[in-house]
Symmetry: C2
Subunit: 219 residues, 2 copies
């Protein structure tokens, strides 16, 4: 039993290191987006395999523990939640890479023909990720629920970006349609990043409450 | 033991019914896209909760079986794979809803200002979903691997759509930028749908081989 709890602690540490790494990448890509920094963006893309490898290791570890120790109730729920949170973290990593690719593509144009300040949207998404991981560490329902509400705000900004960019293209603000489409896609990637943070928060609620709160049941 | 195998059979039936329902929705949205049929699209959106409910039921059932019967090795791997495939099927349902929403939005314009034939891309994505589910039923590695290859073709078409639409907007083919952006987003939704089918195929490979093949390890 002692051995089992040591294994659970190890898993907790592993998922939190992955969380910390993914958070770092989100911060980096946010900064790269603000600075239109293709070099940093390329580095982010280059190091994505680290996240991928950690995800595979964590899943294998969880399965090993379930098979060896046959946990039940809260422990089993925790391990299944970790498998799913692990998956969401890896997919947040994919969204970071998607954003980085857009930055590389946009940086080919020397002077930005149009600027949209993603700071507010990216800050909210980053806060959602941080709070979802905090709620996991502290098993804190309040934090988890805050994440679910923030998601609506991110969606709202995404819709605003859409209108802004559509109007700018229609008004012929710039001839570079590719650039504008990249801007639009970035807002979609940030939104999906926030969606994965929401999934993590939902998993935490499930872990604490033992009830599945997906599909807006909580609202 | 007999009881346990009956439970596994039940889970298999549940996940295949969900798969069949999701396949049906994919076919419906494909047709609605071709016909620009907002009425069918609205119906698809309206009935998404059926998929959501089935997902929740399947996950609860899997957890119950793991907790009660403490399966190991192949049986445990099967149940964990079902939990993940379940999740991917539900997200395919979300992509179908996203496409349906685009159709509703585009149908507000009486005469399509620009046509893109999504049949090839949608057919491939649909085939991927079908083959990934077949590979699950038959535990067939070949089918699963075919899905992974088809995914590259879908990505290629997505990139072609991007260039086509970007050029059409730049050439002023239509003043309706919103319509064009919707077309572009549809190609992204189909691509994500195909991504989830790829995840399912990867899970099947994992189930059969006992090795995680994510992140292009197979290629």
């Amino acid at each position: 039993m002692k051995h089992f709890h040591r294994e659970l602690e190890k898993i907790k540490k592993m998922i939190l290191s992955l969380g910390a790494l993914v958070e770092k990448r989100v911060r980096q890509v946010k900064q790269a987006l603000e600075d239109r920094d293709a070099a940093v963006a390329k580095e982010i893309i280059h190091f994505d395999h680290e996240i991928d490898q950690m995800e595979v290791d964590i899943e294998e570890e969880c399965l090993k523990i379930i098979a060896l120790h046959q946990p039940v109730a809260a422990d089993l729920r925790f391990l299944i939640a970790v498998i799913k949170i692990n998956n969401d973290l890896e997919r947040i990593g994919d969204q970071v890479v998607n954003i980085a690719q857009r930055i590389v593509s946009m940086a080919k144009i020397q002077i930005a023909p149009y600027r949209f300040d993603y700071a507010e949207m990216a800050d909210k998404a980053e806060a959602m990720l941080r709070m979802s991981l905090d709620s996991l560490v502290n098993q804190d329902l309040d934090d988890a629920i805050k994440v679910l509400h923030l998601d609506d705000e991110v969606d709202k900004i995404k819709n605003e970006v859409y209108v802004l960019i559509k109007t700018a293209i229609a008004d012929g603000v710039t001839k570079d349609i590719g650039y504008m489409i990249n801007l639009l896609l970035i807002s979609r990637h940030i939104e999906r990043l926030a969606d994965h943070a929401t999934n993590i928060a939902e998993e935490v609620v499930y872990m604490i409450e033992g009830e599945i709160v997906r599909h807006g049941r909580l609202a």
